[in-house]
C-alpha cells in the first residue's frame, strides 16, 4: 500500500523531477527547429547551423539558465518560428483554445437536445 501511494506521489510530482543536463539538452534539441532543413528539429539534423545551435544550448545549460530562458533567448533572436511547439500568446490564442471551445459547444448541444426530448 505504501508503495502504491509513493508511486502516485511520484506520478504527480514527476514534472519537478530534475533530469541530468545531457537529457535536458536533448529534450531542448527536440523543441528547436533546424533553420536550414525542411521540418526537422536540430536533434534530427547534423547540418552545420544545427550543430552550432546545439553547442549554444549546451553552453547555456551549463551556465545555469532554465529551459524557459533559453527558449526566450532563441525566440528573441530567430522569431517564434524556431520553436517546434508554438507558445501560448496573443498570436496563438485561437490555435490553442478553439478545439476546446468546439468540444464544449458540442457537449452542450448534445445535452440540451436530449433534455429537450425528455
Amino acid at each position: 500500500m505504501y508503495k502504491i501511494i509513493k508511486i502516485f506521489l511520484i506520478m504527480f510530482w514527476f514534472q519537478g523531477y530534475t533530469v541530468a543536463e545531457d537529457q535536458r539538452a536533448i529534450e531542448l534539441f527536440k523543441e528547436v527547429r533546424c533553420l536550414v532543413c525542411q521540418g526537422q528539429t536540430i536533434h534530427e539534423s547534423n547540418a552545420e547551423l544545427a550543430e552550432d545551435l546545439k553547442q549554444l544550448i549546451r553552453e547555456k545549460i551549463s551556465q545555469g539558465e532554465t529551459d524557459h530562458q533559453i527558449k526566450e533567448y532563441l525566440v528573441e533572436r530567430y522569431g517564434d518560428w524556431i520553436l517546434m511547439t508554438p507558445p501560448f500568446k496573443s498570436l496563438t490564442y485561437i490555435l490553442w483554445s478553439l478545439p476546446f471551445l468546439i468540444m464544449i459547444i458540442g457537449a452542450i448541444a448534445i445535452y440540451r437536445q436530449k433534455r429537450g426530448q425528455a
Binding site: 508511486i7 511520484i10 506520478m11 514527476f14 523543441e31 527547429r33 525542411q38 521540418g39 526537422q40 528539429t41 534530427e44 547534423n46 522569431g79 517564434d80 518560428w81 524556431i82 520553436l83 517546434m84 511547439t85 508554438p86 498570436l91 496563438t92 485561437i94 490555435l95 490553442w96 478553439l98 478545439p99 468546439i102 468540444m103 458540442g106 457537449a107 448541444a109 448534445i110 437536445q113 436530449k114 426530448q117 425528455a118
Partner: protein, 633 residues
C-alpha cells in the same frame, strides 16, 4: 505516330465529355435525352477513359519522348515497373487516373440493381457533372497527351524518392478512397433532390461508403509505411501538411460511416449524415488538390501552375455553395427524427462524432494556422507534432471510453451501472494489466496510462464480444467487421503510445572497425562498399549486430546517388521483430574518415501495422455484408 496518338486520345476525351454531358442532362426529367440510357452512356464513359489511360501507359512503356509528359517524367533506363508507376507519378497522369476511378465508380453504380430508376439516374447525373468538370480540366488545362517536335533521345526521369514498389500502389489505393466519396456525395445530393434520406437510402450508401473508407485507410497506412522506411527519419507519422490532408477526410469519413449505420438502424440524424457526406468529399478534394497547388511544399507537389490551382479552388467552392444551398432549401422537407435516449448507443455514437469533429478541427487548425499567420500577419510559426499530441491525447481518452461503452449499450435507455457491473471482470482485468505495465515499465504519465487502460478495455471488449456463444455453445453471428476494426483501433492506440514512450535513438560518427552500442546490442562496423545498379550508384555500409557475442543479423544502410534526375536518397535498414524494430540509417559522410549513423529502437511497430491492418479488414467485412444485423436486445 505521336500525332495519331494525339488525335485518337483527344477524341476519346471529347467522347467522354459528350457522354457525361448527356448523362448530366438526365438530372432534369426530360424526353430529349431519354435515350441513350444510363447504362449505355456509362459504358461509353468508362471505355473512352480506360482506353486513353491504356494509351498513356503504352506511351510510358515505349518511352515515347515526343509526348511532353513522358519526356519530363520518364527515362529509358528506368526499371519497367517504374516506367509503369511513373504514369501516375505526375500531375496529368494522376489526374487521368483520378478520372478513371471516378468513371469506374459511376459505372459500377449504374450497373447496381434494386435501386429505383429515377434515383439511379439522378445519382449518375450528379456524378457525371463531376466527370465532365474534371475531363474538361484535363483536356484544356493539363492535357497528358501534349506533344513536342523536338525528338529528344532521353527523358528527364522520375523523382527517385518515388521509385519504390510501395509508391507504385499507394496513389491508386488512396485515390479509390478519395474518389469513392464522390459517389457517396452524389448519393447525398440525389437524396436531397428526391427528398428520400431514410433507412433505404442508408442501405444503398453503406457498401460504397465502407469500401471507400477501407481504401482510404489502406492508402494512408501504405503512405505511412513508406515514409517509415524510405524517408529515413525513424518515424511513421510526422504531422506533415500532406499527411494531414489525407487524415482530414478520413476523420470525417469515420464519423460518416457511423452516422450511416445509425440512420440505417434507427432512422435518425438525416441532416447530419448529409452534411458529413458533403464535408468528407470536399475534404477529399482539398486532400488531393490543395496538396498539388504548390502552397504546401513536398514530394506530392507535382505542378504549381496558378491556373490549375485556381480551377480546383473554384470547383471546390462551387460544390460547397451548390450542395449547401440545396441542403438549406430542401432540408426542411427531409423527414428528420432524432429521438434517442440519453444513455443509449445512439448518444455514444453522437458524442464520438463530435469528438471526431473536434480532432478534425485540431488537424485543420494545425495545418492552416501557420499559413494564415504567414499570409495575413506576415509572422511565421511552426506547429510541430507536440501541438497535435498534447491537444488530441485527452480527447482520445474520452473517445476510447465511448468506443468501448457504446456497443455495450442498447438503442434505448440503458442503466449505466448495470452495464458496468456486467463488465466488471473485463474492467478489473484491464486495470490489472495496466497497473502491471505501468509499474514494470516505470510509466508515470497519467495521460499515457489512461490511453493504455482504455485501449486495452476496448480491445479486450471488442474481441470477447465477437466470440459470443449462445446457450447451445454455438457461435452467434456477431458484428465481426465492427469488432475487428474497433479492436484494431485499440491495438493501434496502445502501440502508438508505447512507441512514443519507449523509442530510443543514438547517433554516432563511426569508422570501419568501431563497435557501437544500443541497449543490449553491439553493432560492429564491418566494411563500406560502392555498388553500381542500373539506375543509381550506392554507398553501402555493413554492420554486424551481436548480442552476447553472438551474431544476430547484418544491417546494410545505404545512400543512393541517382543521376536522372540527380538526387541523393538514404535507405534505412530495418530488422522487424514482433515487439520492436531496429532501424539503422546512414547520412551523407561529412568527411572521408567516418560516416554518421543513426540507430533507433522502435518498439511495437509490427503491432502498430497489425492494428491498422485489422481496421482495414474490418472495413472491408462491413462493406461486404449487405444488410446490417438487427441487434435489438
Amino acid at each position: 505516330m505521336s500525332l495519331y496518338i494525339f488525335y485518337i486520345s483527344n477524341f476519346l476525351l471529347l467522347l467522354c465529355l459528350t457522354a457525361s454531358l448527356m448523362q448530366s442532362s438526365k438530372i432534369i426529367n426530360n424526353k430529349i435525352f431519354a435515350r441513350p440510357g444510363v447504362i449505355v452512356l456509362a459504358y461509353v464513359q468508362l471505355i473512352s477513359i480506360l482506353l486513353s489511360f491504356l494509351i498513356l501507359i503504352y506511351l510510358f512503356l515505349i518511352s515515347d519522348f515526343n509526348i511532353d509528359l513522358v519526356y519530363f517524367n520518364s527515362h529509358s533506363e528506368k526499371p519497367l515497373i517504374y516506367k509503369f508507376s511513373g504514369v501516375w507519378g505526375n500531375h496529368e497522369g494522376s489526374m487521368l487516373l483520378w478520372i478513371l476511378i471516378l468513371v469506374l465508380f459511376n459505372f459500377l453504380f449504374a450497373l447496381s440493381r434494386r435501386i429505383s430508376e429515377r434515383f439511379k439516374e439522378i445519382t449518375v447525373a450528379v456524378q457525371s457533372i463531376m466527370i465532365f468538370g474534371f475531363v474538361a480540366f484535363l483536356f484544356f488545362l493539363s492535357n497528358p497527351f501534349a506533344i513536342n517536335q523536338n525528338n529528344f533521345f532521353e527523358g528527364i526521369g522520375l523523382n527517385p524518392i518515388l521509385q519504390d514498389p510501395l509508391l507504385a500502389i499507394h496513389p491508386p489505393v488512396l485515390y479509390v478512397g478519395y474518389v469513392g466519396f464522390s459517389l457517396v456525395f452524389s448519393l447525398a445530393i440525389a437524396g436531397l433532390i428526391t427528398k428520400e434520406v431514410d433507412q433505404q437510402w442508408a442501405s444503398i450508401v453503406k457498401p460504397w461508403v465502407f469500401s471507400a473508407w477501407a481504401f482510404l485507410t489502406a492508402g494512408i497506412a501504405l503512405g505511412s509505411f513508406w515514409a517509415y522506411y524510405e524517408l529515413g527519419w525513424g518515424g511513421y507519422w510526422f504531422w506533415d501538411p500532406v499527411e494531414n490532408a489525407s487524415l482530414m477526410p478520413w476523420i470525417a469519413a469515420t464519423a460518416l460511416i457511423h452516422c450511416v449505420l445509425i440512420l440505417q438502424k434507427r432512422n435518425v440524424m438525416q441532416s447530419w449524415t448529409i452534411i458529413l457526406a458533403i464535408l468528407t468529399f470536399s475534404l477529399s478534394l482539398v486532400g488531393t488538390f490543395l496538396v498539388r497547388s504548390g502552397i504546401l511544399n513536398s514530394v506530392h507537389t507535382f505542378a504549381s501552375d496558378p491556373g490549375r490551382g485556381l480551377f480546383i479552388l473554384l470547383f471546390i467552392f462551387l460544390i460547397l455553395v451548390f450542395s449547401f444551398s440545396l441542403f438549406a432549401y430542401n432540408s426542411e422537407k427531409i423527414n428528420e427524427t432524432s429521438s434517442m435516449d440519453l444513455i443509449s448507443r445512439g448518444t455514444g455514437i453522437q458524442v464520438n462524432n463530435w469528438l471526431l469533429i473536434t480532432i478534425l478541427t485540431i488537424v485543420l487548425l494545425g495545418t492552416m494556422y501557420p499559413l494564415a499567420t504567414d499570409l495575413l500577419l506576415n509572422k511565421s510559426l511552426t506547429v510541430g507534432p507536440k501541438y497535435y499530441s498534447t491537444t488530441i491525447a485527452p480527447i482520445i481518452i474520452l473517445f476510447l471510453f465511448f468506443m468501448f461503452i457504446s456497443p455495450r449499450l442498447g438503442w434505448t435507455d440503458t442503466k449505466l451501472y448495470k452495464i458496468i457491473i456486467q463488465l466488471r471482470y473485463l474492467i478489473i482485468t484491464s486495470l490489472t494489466i495496466t497497473l502491471i505495465i505501468s509499474l514494470y515499465f516505470e510509466l508515470f504519465d497519467l495521460t499515457e496510462i489512461l490511453i493504455i487502460f482504455f485501449s486495452l478495455l476496448l480491445t479486450i471488449s471488442s474481441m470477447t464480444s465477437s466470440l459470443n456463444f449462445n446457450k447451445q455453445n454455438i457461435l452467434v453471428r456477431t458484428n465481426l467487421g465492427q469488432n475487428l476494426a474497433h479492436a484494431g483501433f485499440g491495438i493501434l492506440m496502445m502501440a502508438v503510445v508505447s512507441n512514443a514512450v519507449y523509442s530510443e535513438e543514438r547517433i554516432y560518427n563511426a569508422k570501419v572497425g568501431d563497435n557501437l552500442q544500443l541497449q543490449k546490442y553491439i553493432f560492429s562496423f564491418d566494411k563500406i562498399e560502392q555498388v553500381e545498379e542500373s539506375n543509381y550508384n550506392s554507398l553501402k555500409a555493413y554492420f554486424l549486430m551481436k548480442k552476447d557475442g553472438k551474431l544476430i543479423d547484418t544491417f546494410t544502410p545505404e545512400i543512393r546517388f541517382y543521376s536522372n534526375p540527380p538526387t541523393i536518397t538514404s535507405e534505412a535498414s530495418i530488422l522487424h521483430k514482433f515487439f520492436s524494430d531496429i532501424y539503422l540509417v546512414m547520412n551523407v559522410p561529412q568527411d572521408q574518415q567516418s560516416i554518421s549513423v543513426r540507430m533507433h529502437i522502435k518498439p511495437f511497430m509490427t503491432i502498430l501495422w497489425l492494428g491498422a491492418f485489422m481496421i482495414i479488414i474490418g472495413g472491408i467485412i462491413s462493406a461486404s455484408i449487405r444488410v446490417g444485423r438487427s441487434d435489438e436486445k
